[in-house]
Amino acid sequence: MTRERGDILKDLMDGVFLMNEELVIKAANEIVAAGYDAYDAINNGLIAGMNQAGVLFDKEEYFVPELLICSDAMYAGIEILRPHLKVGDARVKHKVVIGVVEGDTHDIGKNLVKIMMDAAGFEVHDLGRNVPLASFVEKAKEVGAELICLSTLMTTTMDGMATVIEMLKEEGIRDAHKVIIGGGPISQAFANKIGADGYADNAAGAIRVANSLLAKVAA
């Protein structure tokens, strides 16, 4: 028997939120078999579940392990549903280029921000870690990213963030891209000093900062 759409959506959401990847896979396959809308299932099931996990992360009830396993479940569901998206489902998304600056290979913080940005509906272009500074500018131009997110854990590499901002100025495109920075040694004071548009202390904060910067652009 085919179950109600709402029941399956609840399984997708709970499966992500409660770290039950098997439940997500089963429910995603059920959506496909029943011919329910895949876009709806991703947004109102998987992503809704991930956002619930994000709320708990923000409240320090979930931590990194829980958030990563929730995201594994979310991505497993998306893999199954993506081939069933309809052409008209492609909404215009805000584009983000993200990476860890050159000289630094610590990327767990950046990866958490990427997961939360995926869940928040951004189109995320992840350049990875130890990224040459010019690559941030090139990629942002290429995809037309509204946001550039720079991360580092180290004091030896934090000045690279200022260099990226200088590069944007030199190319005369500073106003076209908002720059958000974060990581262990980074502070609001440092963001102000180098002229970054935003600073976030953690992954949930990065989403809030991104949304508020984009709201300012729209206003």
């Binding site: 396993i69 000289g103 004091t155 000093k193």
Partner: protein, 352 residues
């Protein structure tokens, strides 16, 4: 700003000052432990890449740094992954930065069967650490406590197996994680023995146990019990040395779980140290916590003021050592380190 306050001269040596803490007496002034690690290479004028791979360069750098700054604890260190490196993890080296993890040794769970406690006479860069320790103890050990720093079991595990997979396994494969932590603990105990044998103080760093990565529940299950075995080993074999622990980043959420590990000294980073003193000051001596990036970026006057505020927060200043929250950045201007140490001389005295 009290920058113009006269700087009283020390009449105790670093060693006497630190011994006062151990004897439960008040020192002339609060001790100061700026965590001078890779920055020591700058003082001797050798590339950081050479410091990291040459025991003589590492040892001589710390001797030179201590002679330059007169800080109260010498810390032999290059990265938190040194034990894991000696157990098979490949590092990426830089000319002017500390090494970083390149390829973790464990690719899959079954690789754990290949994992062994390292041989300190030949594996990885352990001989570099040992030689550096010997040089410092011989050259300056009569005037200052020399310590050697290594990653705790959880941090070593996260350098042997990718941290993002390890954190998932806390929930998905806890039994395997415990097996891995057991081997890392045995390696840590061996490290303690090798350091004590050389007359130095073993210091344990467990940054992967930071509250940013691990919940109090997981700290209690996966971090504290193994750290406690290291602390117990120091207490039993250390000839009066205290058990010292450093955890970077945010730790407040894990303080209660950290107490279970039974360390005597905590070096803390991104916390309110005054709040820490109220919460755990009856159990541990606290080291901290001028912001490392500020040491790199701010002026000496700003460091003086930041350190003064920390001293003020520490009330009666007992059970307190002024320091940096985490590693003193490699390119920190020397006058900022002087400002930090002078702040202990100016704002944290017991003889007035």
């Amino acid at each position: 700003m009290k920058t113009n306050v006269a700087i009283p001269a020390d009449t105790q040596t670093s060693l006497e000052r630190v011994m006062s803490y151990l004897k439960g007496e008040k020192p002339q002034r609060v001790a100061c432990f700026p965590l001078i690690l890779n920055h020591a290479a700058r003082v001797l004028g050798v590339p950081v890449g050479k410091y990291n791979r040459d025991g003589k360069a590492m040892g001589n750098s710390h001797v030179a740094a201590w002679k330059r700054y007169g800080h109260d604890l010498v810390l032999i260190f290059s990265t938190t992954s040194t034990l894991a490196e000696a157990m098979g993890t490949k590092m990426k080296f830089f000319d002017e930065d500390a090494p970083q993890i390149d390829v973790p040794f464990l690719k899959q769970h079954s690789d754990i069967s290949k994992l062994k406690v390292p041989d300190f006479s030949k594996d990885g860069r352990l001989p570099v650490y040992m030689e550096a320790t010997e040089i410092c103890v011989k050259e300056i050990g009569s005037q200052v406590v020399v310590s050697t720093v290594f990653g705790g079991p959880f941090t070593t595990a996260a350098a042997l197996y990718p941290v993002e997979l390890l954190t998932r396994d806390l929930i998905k494969n806890p039994k395997w994680v415990h097996e891995l932590l057991e081997i890392c603990t045995q390696a840590g105990i061996k490290f303690i023995d090798e350091i004590l044998k050389r007359g130095a103080l073993p210091v344990i760093v467990e940054p992967i146990g930071s509250g940013s990565l691990v919940s109090p529940r997981h700290f209690h299950e996966f971090v504290a019990p193994y750290l406690k075995r290291l602390a117990d080993h120091v207490h039993k074999n250390g000839g009066g040395f205290p058990a010292a622990l450093h955890i970077c980043g945010k730790t407040k959420s894990n303080w209660m779980a950290m107490l279970e590990a039974d360390f005597d000294i905590w070096s803390l980073d991104d916390v309110d140290l005054g709040e820490a003193k109220k919460a755990v000051g009856h159990r541990v001596v606290l080291i901290g916590n001028v912001v490392p990036a500020n040491l790199l970026k701010n002026t000496a006057e700003e460091i003086d003021e930041e350190a003064r505020i920390i001293c003020e927060k520490m009330g009666d200043k007992t059970g307190f050592i002024l320091g940096s929250g985490c590693e003193v950045p490699i390119n920190t201007p020397p006058e900022n380190i002087d400002a930090l140490i002078n702040a202990a001389r100016k704002y944290a005295r017991f003889d007035q």
